[in-house]
């Protein structure tokens, strides 16, 4: 009898470390949801406010912020995944003696986001290093290429924000993709070559199925981070439109209590979009992995 109960008890105990995490998450989301509905907005009074959804869903400003956030997150994720994967492929071909030196690619991973933002600011800003260097060369000036051309901080391109995200995220993609690539049996490509396959067929049939799951996983994480991040947009981004996180911040802190439900409703919308994104990703990965295991 006791033998039967023991595994069940063990299973329950195994979940114990998760409890604080789950409680915090459920409480946080629940509280945000309540505030988005105009409830529990202030701890000092029991005044109920208007739900925030009507305010944000009827606002063109919100949609501009939302699409701007999606645009920044998509472009920076796409670039980070492409560059990170290419870097991983290049690392795989590197001779062993150069590999230690190549680990420098991990440096952006350990730098705080603020530092990355400042590096981009100093390098790509209107008065940054690149702009000054361009100004110093009269040849470029003769062609009409002034530092303004290289000012990535100017909207609408928001190049600085994208550059900062890519600089920070591409090494993360490399890390995940390279870990999988190291286990890839290069004799597969040798066999394909013996059978007469060209580079494209080898990539499509052999390398791509190996690359895409870690690249997609890294892409999802990078996308969700870029989509909801606050620090880099605060440092490098504009305010017309602003990234959604900045918009939420402004509504929450710089307006009166009646704006808080709208701020919280924005957060709930962000959460819903993130969840939808993750679900679609898992469905795609599960479909691709079905029936296939490594030999």
């Amino acid at each position: 009898m006791s033998n039967r109960r023991a595994p069940c008890r063990c299973r329950v105990l195994a979940f114990l470390p998760l409890v604080p995490f789950v409680l915090l998450m459920v409480a946080g989301i629940g509280y945000t949801g309540m505030q988005s509905l105009g409830l529990l907005v202030s701890t000092r009074s029991s005044v109920a406010y208007e739900p925030g959804y009507a305010a944000i869903l009827g606002s063109a400003w919100f949609y501009r912020s939302l699409f701007y956030s999606l645009y920044i997150a998509s472009v920076s994720t796409g670039l980070a995944v492409i560059l990170g994967t290419l870097l991983a492929l290049a690392l795989r071909r590197l001779p062993d003696r150069l590999f230690t030196a190549a680990l420098v690619y991990k440096v952006p991973l350990i730098l705080p986001h603020v530092v990355i933002g400042l590096i981009v600011l100093l390098a790509f800003g209107g008065r940054g290093l690149i702009a000054r260097a361009v100004d110093a060369i009269s040849f470029w000036a003769a062609l009409g290429l002034t530092h303004r051309v290289f000012d990535l901080l100017s909207p609408p391109g928001s190049g600085a924000l994208i550059a900062a995200y890519v600089f920070k995220s591409a090494p993360f993609v490399t890390l995940l993709v390279y870990a999988v690539l190291r286990r890839f049996d290069t004799r597969q490509t040798e066999t394909a070559r013996m059978l007469g396959a060209g580079a494209f067929l080898r990539f499509r049939c052999l390398l791509f199925p190996v690359l895409w799951p870690p690249a997609a996983t890294a892409g999802v994480i990078v996308f969700l981070f870029s989509f909801g991040a606050f620090d880099l947009p605060f440092l490098l981004g504009g305010s017309r439109p602003a990234m959604l996180a900045i918009d939420v911040f402004n509504r929450y802190w710089y307006r009166d209590l009646s704006a808080r439900p709208a701020a919280m409703a924005s957060l709930i919308v962000m959460l819903a979009i993130s969840l939808a994104f993750v679900i679609v990703y898992f469905l795609l990965v599960r479909r691709q992995r079905r029936g296939v295991r490594h030999v």
Partner: protein, 359 residues
């Protein structure tokens, strides 16, 4: 035209199929391989040194040697995956053209894990951009020939070891290479499956009539599947010959010992001939099949230990205080301290070989 390719290609009912059939028949012409003075080193470690070998059209030859002797390196050079530091490889008298004349089947098959069995076999044909109809036709016949039709939709991870090997063979033969290279083809199979697979490999090679070079460290495997065996010791060929000649007429004690158990006994105490002499004077080497042990009170040898090692018996004996090991294929009940004598016998198949050699 090799018989199986004829069968696979004869049902051509369109102009395109006819052209492709002729193309494959041309490709599948057997090939003579000449390897002269091949050398290769990894860093300062020489792997192949002055390796030479001639392989006839349609021949199945096994390169047999201990692990790390450079066998796989040899196959990689022949397959065009590696380059030799020195030496010449010629296919039908010409330098390899790099046109996929040789296909190497790796020891663990290296099937493409994300492709089904069908697509694995079709891979080389897809690479050649043949029409879907033709690929389906050809792959269908190959799968049927290798007994894999029911597994066509499965992935490599869902197959047994034997099935994986057949897929790897079908994939290689689908592109009709002139030279098939097999790297330890039976190493991943259990003992019972090895013999059947060896016979199967041999029959497939005969049906497709393809020149085949196989490398292995397993003597039984090499003898079971080969027309000839090239024993490779120390990065170069020590002896080339039929399985019988290499086994019963080794050119050196090294080859004799590598090819299987040999007894080291003083020649003066043995009646009959010897297969090879050891470096030490008066010591001869005999196969278990060539030696018979008999309990005899007046025997010169005294038994120190007896063990049954599968298909043969090991007797550790002493003579004048010197220790000898004797392997016999016919187990005899012996006790420690028994006096024994050894007699050389000629097995029937060796008589045949001696007759063939002398004629």
């Amino acid at each position: 035209m090799p018989p199986t390719y004829a069968v696979l290609g004869v049902l051509s009912n369109s102009r395109e199929e006819l052209v492709i059939t002729i193309f494959f028949c041309y490709l599948s012409t057997r090939m003579q391989v000449s390897i002269q003075g091949l050398s290769k080193s990894f860093g300062r470690t020489p792997v192949l040194s002055d390796f030479s070998l001639e392989v006839a059209d349609g021949e199945f030859i096994s390169v047999l040697g201990p692990s790390g002797v450079g066998k796989t390196t040899l196959l990689r050079i022949l397959a065009g995956l590696d380059t030799a530091a020195a030496g010449v490889v010629r296919f039908d008298g010409f330098a390899p053209a790099g046109g996929n004349e040789a296909v190497l089947v790796f020891q663990d098959y290296v099937l493409f894990p994300f492709l089904t069995v069908y697509r694995n076999v079709a891979f080389g044909l897809e690479a050649r951009r043949l029409s879907k109809h033709l690929i389906a036709d050809r792959v269908g016949r190959l799968l049927s020939h290798f007994g894999l039709s029911e597994q066509a939709g499965r992935y490599p991870a869902q197959l047994s070891g034997g099935q994986k090997q057949r897929v790897a063979l079908a994939r290689a033969l689908a592109v009709a290479p002139k030279l098939l290279l097999l790297d330890e083809p039976l190493a991943n199979l259990d003992k019972n499956l090895k013999r059947d697979t060896a016979l199967y490999l041999r029959s497939v090679q005969r049906e497709f009539g393809i020149t085949t070079i196989c490398v292995t460290h397993d003597q039984d495997e090499a003898m079971a599947i080969s027309d000839r065996i090239a024993v490779m010791l120390g990065g170069r060929i020590a002896q080339v010959g039929t399985p019988q000649s290499v086994y019963f007429r080794p050119v050196s004690p090294g080859v004799a010992r590598f090819m299987g158990p040999v007894s080291n006994l003083p020649e003066s105490q043995i009646t009959g001939g010897v297969i090879a002499r050891a470096d030490t004077a008066d010591i001869c080497l005999l196969r278990p099949e060539q030696l018979r042990v008999r309990k005899q009170l007046s025997g010169a040898f005294q038994v120190q230990d007896v063990r049954l090692l599968g298909s043969y018996q090991l007797c550790v004996v002493t003579l004048n205080g010197v220790r000898y090991e004797a392997f016999t294929s016919q187990p005899v009940p012996l006790q420690l301290g028994d006096r024994v004598e050894f007699e050389r016998v000629i097995p029937p198949f060796e008589e045949e070989y001696v007759y063939e050699a002398s004629s």
